[in-house]
């Protein structure tokens, strides 16, 4: 059973009055990560919204030891830290339980510039958790296209809508044969919390991707952040799943969509509530564009349903 809201710990690792936008889904998610990891962790950040949010020297809005690193290096830098603390403990220079080493990285630092180092860290099965908080664009620099931007979405570098579909990054990570991969999103905090707790207790490489609807980039009312996250899941545009040692299982409510007990909501309502899509959906080609977006969602659902059947 998913941990209920009232059973979540009191621990707050994200401190009030940080620099994030109001309604920020990344900060919302990081709070849940903090509850799951506790204080004994080391955080790495590549250039992204959460760096802008963390406060300016000498103030820090997160209650962890944190290191800002070069954009492309999350996989490599986290590897360096995990090996450093392990060998220092072996040599008797560190005592007690070793901290969890985790990277907190956007979709740019994961899908794009950080992909090489992350792939290599996964191939080496480094003992780290890589979190990707995915807002489906370079929100921190003012919303440019990334490898996570879905087809049909406006960004400042795709002013007439992105032509290509997004890539399935969690599946790419799974194909590195790592012990744990999961997806989550902010509307389901208990699900996210449980996945982080699970990852914390697994040795080796863990990858958790969190869909983070960004009101600024997606162009909706910031109070609707959680609602947008929920709609993404209900429409099947975001699937909640996890894979332990390569075996995929789906989490509620995505499991109901996958096993056919419940139809996914059509993407129309989800898409039309977001300015990044609907600003391009007022012409004669609107129906074709929506069908394309729906087609991408349907394809991913079908692919994941079949892929999950491989239980080798």
């Amino acid at each position: 059973m998913t941990t209920s809201i009232k059973k979540l710990p009191d621990t707050e690792q994200v401190l009030s009055g940080n620099g994030a936008c109001g309604g920020c889904p990344a900060t919302m998610a990081l709070r849940m990560v903090g509850k799951a990891l506790g204080t004994n962790a080391i955080m790495l950040l590549t250039p992204a919204c959460s760096v802008a949010s963390m406060g300016m020297t000498p103030k820090l809005g997160y209650n962890w030891p944190c290191i800002n690193i070069c954009f492309a290096t999350a996989g490599a830098s986290a590897s360096g830290i995990t090996h450093a603390i392990e060998i220092m403990k072996e040599k008797g220079r560190l005592q007690g339980e070793l901290p969890t080493v985790f990277s907190w990285v956007g979709d740019g630092g994961t899908y794009d510039i950080g992909f090489q180092a992350l792939s290599a860290a996964a191939e080496r099965n480094e003992n780290i958790i890589h979190f990707c908080y995915n807002n489906e664009a370079y929100s921190n620099t003012g919303v440019q296209r990334s490898g996570a931007t879905p087809r049909g979405s406006f960004t400042t570098t795709t002013p007439t809508g992105k032509v290509q579909p997004k890539k399935n990054m969690p599946m790419l990570m799974l194909e590195h044969n790592i012990p744990y991969v999961a997806t989550a999103t902010v509307a389901y905090p208990g699900d996210l919390y449980d996945k982080v707790v699970k990852a914390k207790n697994i040795s080796g490489m863990k990858y958790i991707e969190i869909l983070a609807p960004c009101y600024l980039g997606w162009q909706f009312d910031m109070a609707d952040t959680v609602q947008m996250s929920r709609m993404a899941v209900r429409s099947g545009a975001w699937l909640l799943w996890e894979a332990e040692n390569g075996k995929i299982s789906f989490n509620s409510p995505s499991s109901h969509i996958i096993n056919g007990k419940r139809d996914a909501d059509p993407v129309n309502e989800y898409v039309m509530k977001q300015g990044r899509f609907n600003r391009l959906l007022n012409g004669a080609d609107a129906a074709r564009r929506i069908a394309e977006i729906q087609g991408d969602v349907d394809r991913e659902i079908a692919f994941m349903r079949e892929r999950a059947k491989i239980m080798i």
Partner: protein, 85 residues
């Protein structure tokens, strides 16, 4: 062994208000109607800013940015967003 200069390395320390007095960003203020509130803690769990006391359901207005997620997610409609003066 000591370095020649002090505070030579860019280090920061955890504190509330690392982004400033973020309550001043607020356009609308969430107000809790304790008559309706069931203390379900939905507002607390979804608050990005950690400004809601989960047991008392009180809000730290010094840092609350007024995003309105708490009001949108409250299942009983116990939180209203009131325009700041």
């Amino acid at each position: 062994m000591k370095s020649v200069t002090k505070a030579y390395r860019p280090i920061s320390w955890p504190m509330k208000g690392a982004g400033g007095e973020t309550g001043t960003w607020r356009g609308h203020r969430p107000v809790v109607n304790s008559q309706i509130c069931t203390k379900c803690q939905f507002c607390w769990v979804y608050c990005p800013e950690a400004v809601i006391d989960r047991y008392e359901i009180t809000i730290d207005y010094r840092y609350c940015k007024g995003c309105g997620v708490c009001a949108a997610e409250c299942p009983t409609g116990a939180i209203s967003m009131e325009k700041e003066e």
